[in-house]
Symmetry: D2
């Protein structure tokens, strides 16, 4: 059985990302997850070209398992969890202090802004995605 490789992105929690309860505010995680999807964006636009942006976000869901704190780095592990004809799902985990603290699931659609329609994902990109596919 194969083990897919996640993309890993590590950063320090910013003081302004905490809230009055003393830990990371729940609204911050979608910002981290979006930032950690840069490697996936670059499947479609290697130069991260905002003038030819190829993706639309259809939905996201975040489950919170453990509090997150300022003062220790966090690591986001990013996998693909579904490859469809023109859409796909990204599964992401937040880790801090070797604990899995939150899970994100995001559905993205490959989109052609010229025709304003969803567009098929190429076989080349599908092959790239398959290397990071988390079987569930």
């Amino acid at each position: 059985m194969s083990h897919p490789t996640p993309f890993e992105t590590t950063f320090d929690v910013r003081f302004c990302e905490t809230d009055a309860l003393g830990h990371v505010g729940n609204t911050v995680l979608v910002q981290w997850f979006e930032a950690a999807r840069d490697p996936i964006f670059s499947f479609f636009t290697p130069e991260l070209d905002i003038n030819n942006w190829p993706l639309i976000l259809a939905s996201y869901k975040v489950d919170f398992h453990q509090q997150l704190y300022y003062g220790k780095p966090v690591t986001i592990k990013t996998y693909i969890s579904r490859i469809g004809g023109s859409s796909f799902d990204v599964h992401q985990q937040v880790w801090q202090n070797e604990q899995h603290c939150a899970t994100g699931l995001t559905t993205l659609v490959h989109f052609d802004f010229a025709t304003q329609r969803s567009a098929p994902i190429s076989d080349e990109v599908k092959a790239e995605m398959a290397r990071h596919l988390l079987e569930q």
Copy 2:
């Protein structure tokens, strides 16, 4: 058949809430939804007392239907969609230009920080919630 009353919160889109694609960034909506849950927070803490905060967020999900833009106000409609023993769900909608642009579903848990356990929702609060209960 009864019609539940949503809480309605209206605000202007902030320029800094747009992103390089020219519309509201997807990470902003959970901030709006959280702000629009203030009336629900006040069921549990009428003074919105951050030193006795009674709720934990277990998960949120947002579905995006239409782009949102700077320059026009948005209205968030907030309903209760499930009342459990110690947890409940909040259903929220973002409206702009008379279009329903996004939907949020958030699960919150009534929590006792002293004992570090979930706590039952009182009958009084359940009765308050029932007035805003969206039957599905």
Copy 3:
């Protein structure tokens, strides 16, 4: 002696705008100030048209006098404090609980994106600004 009229913008503090010290994080104020400059943006672009944005921000400064808290609305008072040939200054105050809690000073430049140069402020706009001019 005349009394200039400020623009007044009132909003509730968002929970996510607090930080772990229990009050509003210092990075939030420039977001509030930017939002409260919408009436000034509309001097230049009445439709708040982001595709023909006429202003560049040259600098901002914020002085913090009192802590700001979640649970009470804040009001931003926005004045013009300098009218130059192509640039101008905006003086802004944050009030909460009838206390003046912070002061912002922002320098903006009227800019022509077609020629990529600063552009003179019209007499019409200068006359509008003069009604909100805080003499110092």
Copy 4:
């Protein structure tokens, strides 16, 4: 003549940090500057302990020289620019593509929350600061 060593913090621009003008929103820089002051916070609280936070922010000023973009990392260079009895100034620069794009100046006050008064900066911390002192 001595050359002070700045603290250097590098991170990728987050997509959500752009705005509808296609570049980094001006409100983001104070978030970056705050994050890049972590090494200075740790002079006062080596564990970055939010329950014993020793500093209050008195003011910040940011000057914008060049636009900043998504897709390239930014580096924040952080210097001390003034050491007073209980307060000090932090001078920070944002660099992207080998260009100096913005400058920040922040005044912080060493504060004793127990007595609710400003507190002298110890000689030990002053000596640490002196190694990063930008002479102007």
